[in-house]
Symmetry: C2
Subunit: 207 residues, 2 copies
Amino acid sequence: MALSNEVAENAEVGRKGILDAAAQLFGRQGYGAVSLRMIAESAGIKAGSIYYHFASKDAIITEILDAGIQAVHDEVRDRLAALDADAPARDVLRAVIHGHLGALLEHGDYTSANVRIFGQVPPAVRDANLPVRRAYENFLDDLLSDLQTQGAIRGDINLPRFRLMLFGALNATLEWFDPQKGDAEGLADDYADMFLNGILNRDGEKI
Amino acid sequence: MALSNEVAENAEVGRKGILDAAAQLFGRQGYGAVSLRMIAESAGIKAGSIYYHFASKDAIITEILDAGIQAVHDEVRDRLAALDADAPARDVLRAVIHGHLGALLEHGDYTSANVRIFGQVPPAVRDANLPVRRAYENFLDDLLSDLQTQGAIRGDINLPRFRLMLFGALNATLEWFDPQKGDAEGLADDYADMFLNGILNRDGEKI
DNA sequence: GTCTATATCTGGATAGAC
DNA sequence: GTCTATCCAGATATAGAC
């Protein structure tokens, strides 16, 4: 009986256990600071065993990076799908911001690992992640383009530049926001308000 | 004659040569990817010689991080000082954005190194950089607070949160903007416009 | 599928000659 | 102030037992 139990326990670690442990460590400590020994210990196995599942450290990173983008893309897509077909532009943009920020701050080590370590990995690994990134960028650019054509977004806004600005601001929240202490949805509300309406007081114009 | 020339050449490398080489490499490749041997080679000396000037790799980083923040702080302060005393809030905020972005993108390896590697260095090094960061943050918070009291910034804007959002968006430009190809001042104009006025079309409200 | 043991390399750091 | 030579710790990765 002991044998079959041990086998079952070992089998549970496996590939996913390594990926989960690695994603958590990379997201918190960065690419260079995390060794295969640390990943192995966190996953409950020995360092050498990792090579049964992955060919290299970079192979692990590559998979984590792709999963991270995909999770954000999926979350944003789902929130948009939940809207009414005739939802106003404000709600569409809010859904994007809430989805992106929610995936980043609340769901998961893969998304935060992606944001944190993408700039630190070797160029070859970065290149491998580009197709998935591009797909998400194109998805958003199409959406924004529609909103601008409809007249909801000002015509003089440079859309790719706005997207880069938005991503920069949203992704940077990882560096200081703690979802345990603060309210991620409230943060998304504040950000959406600033992006959509600006910070200047317009009382003078309205009156 | 040869002797004195050689001494002069060697003396020119020294402390500053090491810092400059290190800042450039760190800013481009990240903390973990840059070794002391690489820094030494780029500075034109051997790795062992670095320890005449610095006690450790972290001592080099610490100095670069402080210089980076200070350069941005100085640039923003100077641009504000160049304004008329009764300059409108729009111009004050524009000066901040132009100064921060200008220091980041055009003047120097130290500022970009700071943004790129701050999240990668050991905690002790990060802590050492905090006082200089805090000083810049407090400087901006005081400025924003004045503008809000005057009624220029909407009363319901959470100022520390706006500052974090602003920094996130501005600092992220390092990841994609190339000042050789694009116009940094034009970029600052676009960003300032989006932050101050928002991206939504307001024609309907005005008419 | 995981273990132990180890090969190989590269990193930061030190000592002493010049 | 810089060089050469070297120590030592820690990294990725491999080989073969179980």
